[in-house]
Symmetry: C2
Subunit: 204 residues, 2 copies
Amino acid sequence: MSKKLDLRVKRTRKLINEAFLKLIQQKGFDSVTIQDIAEEALINRATFYLHYEDKYDLLEKISRSAIDELTSVLNPVLHISEHEVQVEKLRTTIEKVYESMEKNQVFYTVMFGEHGVYNFRNNLEEVIRENFSKKMTELGVRPEDFEIPKDMILHFISAAFVGVVQWWLKQSTKPSSQEMAMKLSKIITAGPMQAAGLKIEKQL
Amino acid sequence: MSKKLDLRVKRTRKLINEAFLKLIQQKGFDSVTIQDIAEEALINRATFYLHYEDKYDLLEKISRSAIDELTSVLNPVLHISEHEVQVEKLRTTIEKVYESMEKNQVFYTVMFGEHGVYNFRNNLEEVIRENFSKKMTELGVRPEDFEIPKDMILHFISAAFVGVVQWWLKQSTKPSSQEMAMKLSKIITAGPMQAAGLKIEKQL
DNA sequence: GACACTCTGTTAACTAATCAACATTTTGTC
DNA sequence: GACAAAATGTTGATTAGTTAACAGAGTGTC
C-alpha cells in the first residue's frame, strides 16, 4: 500500500510539525513565519517548500491527520441496530477516542490554547457532528419522530463532547481514557440518546 | 574561527544527543545500542558512524562539551589577589556556573539519575578540584602554610559543591541561579576559605 | 558447541536537504 | 506614501544522509 517513506522525509516532517506547534503556542498562529519554523526545526527554509505550500497548507495537513485519526476511531461509535444502542460498544469507542486525543495531546492542547487557531473548537465540533449525523441517517435513526430536531441532538452531543475534552486536556493528572469512557457513555445513554428516542440496551 | 557547520550536521548531532540521553534515562547506558539511538533519533545507523566511533566516544564528546562549558565559566571563580577573595566576583561566577547547569539540565539530570553513568559524580568532582587546584597554585595560594592540607580543602569544596548541585537539580521548583550563588558564596567564604587562611574582602 | 539472533562496522549507488543567490512581496514605521 | 527591513518563493550545484547489502563479533539458550 504505502511505499516506504525515506527516513529523511519522515524526520523532516516530524521536526516541522513539532516546531510549528511549539511556535504557535509561543506567539500564535498568525505571527509564525516560515523562517521561524525553519530555524526552530533546524531545516533549511527551502526544505519547507519541498513539503508544504505555506503555513496554511501545513496547518491543514497537521489537522487533517489528527482529525482523520479521530474520525476513523469515531466512525463505529454508534453501532446501532434497530434503534438500539449497544452501550458496551459505545464505551469502548469513546475510550479509543480519548486514546487518540492523548496521542495527539500536544496538537489539541496547542489548538485549544490561548494562542491556538481561531475557530478550531467550532471546526472540531462540526467534524464530530458530521460523523454522528452520517451514521444516524445511514442507520435510519430519526429523532424527528420523537419531536426533537436532529440538529439539536447533534449540537448537544458534539458541544458536550468537545467541552469535556477541552476540560480533560487541561487537567494535570488526567482521568484515564477508561474512566472517561465509562462516565461519558453513562451520561450520553442516560441523557440525549433517550431524549432522541433511542432504546438503550441494558447497562453493563 | 569556527567554519560554519552544515545545518544537517548540526541537526543530526542534536538528534543523536537527545536520543542518547533519553535512552540512558530509560534503560541505562550499558544497555543502549547504536541501533536504539538511530531508531530513536530518526537517523540511519550508518549516519551515526559518520560522527562517532561508538557510544563511548559519544558519551565522551557529550560530556566534554558540557564540562568544557562548565570549566570555562568556573575558571575565573577564584579571582584572588594577594590572598584576598573578591566575594562579589565569587558570587557572579557561581551564578554563571548554575546557569550553565540549568542550560545542560537534561544532561546532568540523566548522568546523576538512577540509570546514569557510573562514577559520573566522582568525575565531576575531580574536574572541579583540578580547576580550583590549578587556580590556587597559579596564584600562589598555599593553605599548607595554615596547617590545612590543600587536598582536604579541595575535596571539601568540590564535594560540597557537587552535592548541592545534585540536590538542586532534583527540586521541582528550583531556587534561581542568583539565589544559589548568593547563598553558596556566603557559605564558602564563611567556612572553607577562612579555614584555608584566605583573607576575605568585606561582604557585599 | 552449534544454533539462531541481534548488534556491529563498512561499503557504493542513490536521493533529500543544504547553500547561497536571486527577484518579488509584505510589513512596519517615520 | 515612501523607504528600509523582513519574509517569501524559486533556482542549480553541492553534500550529508539513506539504503541495502555485506561479513564478522557477541549473546544466549537448548
